[in-house]
Amino acid sequence: MIVPEVVPAITVSLFLPALYVGLLVGFIALLGISFQKKDLHALILTDIVGVGMLIIVAAVGTDLAEALILPGLVVQLAEIMAISEILMSREMRKTGKKVSFMPMPLKMNMEILKTAPNFLSLVLIVYGIFLTGFTGGAVAGVGILFYALSRKSRGLPFKLWEGVSGISGVAWCIWLAGFLILFVTPEIWLLGLLMSSFGILLKVASKMGLIGVLGREEIKRD
């Protein structure tokens, strides 16, 4: 028997320590937030709260738990992104300052930034495509992002940005179609499966990559 009927004893024995660690981490981080005056620091600390959540979910130790972790991660990431953007927008309105929109320095001549990105990004993207799904999307996304971040060429037009976000919308539709196929006509489940995995891959990857493109767009305006 490859898969046991019930959860193995060792996983059960690890549940309680893991749960307690999750609760403890959550508690410490929440205490930190409640005594924190600065908004940015509170935002950083919420990241740790998310870590507590992940541990609690992981503690269940089944395949289902893992399937629940995957998206939880992505949700956490997306929320941090949206909220940090709001924070920046608020501060810009408050200070009313025009700042150079460059998030990362490129004046440094770092050796790694010249040679490594092409290769690393290629590996990551190819590997991400092989993986597909949420995981592959995240991996390939980091690849695109890293490539965009480290390149010095800045000729990306604004339209392309919208194009990339368009791809992700289309990808979401592909994924939905795949999902529907799985339920409506289960006979061609294989097609549905492939559509779903590649839809999610495209979607997640393009969205992750957007962050990098976002950075470049800002650099260009500098």
Binding site: I2, V7, P8, A9, V12, D63, W175, W189, G192, S197
Partner: protein, 159 residues
């Protein structure tokens, strides 16, 4: 009147996350007093960790049996009656994945992350609606972030 002042200060948006987190923290602490244990009769149970890799299984740690396109893998789902193709996705491997499987025993994770595999089965088939929502959350958060970025933080001088 002190109570009135306290109530007024509670209405300050900046205080609210702090108040919320302290309440939540206290409730989390009560978790230590409550007897808790994992109910071992779970859905989708998995084998003992490291067991499959120790056996030299090239599909470790996600091998759930079954044969490609012939025999479904073993999945303990909630409502098997709703899922005519239960386990087939679990056992499915792409041709590339099969070749990877034959060449090395250390790439089980990658094989099961490519189309087919247990997690895909759960994410797309048995609990597909969840994944719709998750990717919707993702797309919405990005829409919001990119919209704010495009229209406020980046092109503010256009206003």
């Amino acid at each position: 009147m002190k109570l009135g002042r306290l109530w007024n200060s509670l209405a300050n948006p900046k205080r609210i996350p702090r108040v919320f987190s302290i309440i939540l923290g206290v409730i989390l602490l009560t978790g230590f007093l409550i007897p808790m244990a994992l109910n071992d009769n779970q859905l989708y149970p998995r084998p003992v960790p490291q067991e499959q890799i120790n056996q030299g299984n090239p599909l470790a740690p996600y091998d759930r049996g079954g044969e490609v396109l012939k025999e479904p893998g073993i999945v303990k789902s909630q409502y098997p009656q709703n899922e005519p193709n239960l386990g087939k996705i679990t056992s499915y491997l792409t041709p590339i994945a099969i070749s990877v499987k034959n060449s090395t025993i250390y790439y089980g994770t990658s094989i099961y992350s490519s189309p087919g595999g247990l997690i895909d089965e759960i994410l797309y088939y048995t609990r597909g609606f969840d994944t719709v929502l998750e990717s919707t959350i993702l797309i919405m958060a990005f829409v919001i972030a990119s919209w704010v970025a495009l229209n406020f933080t980046m092109r503010r001088e256009d206003e």
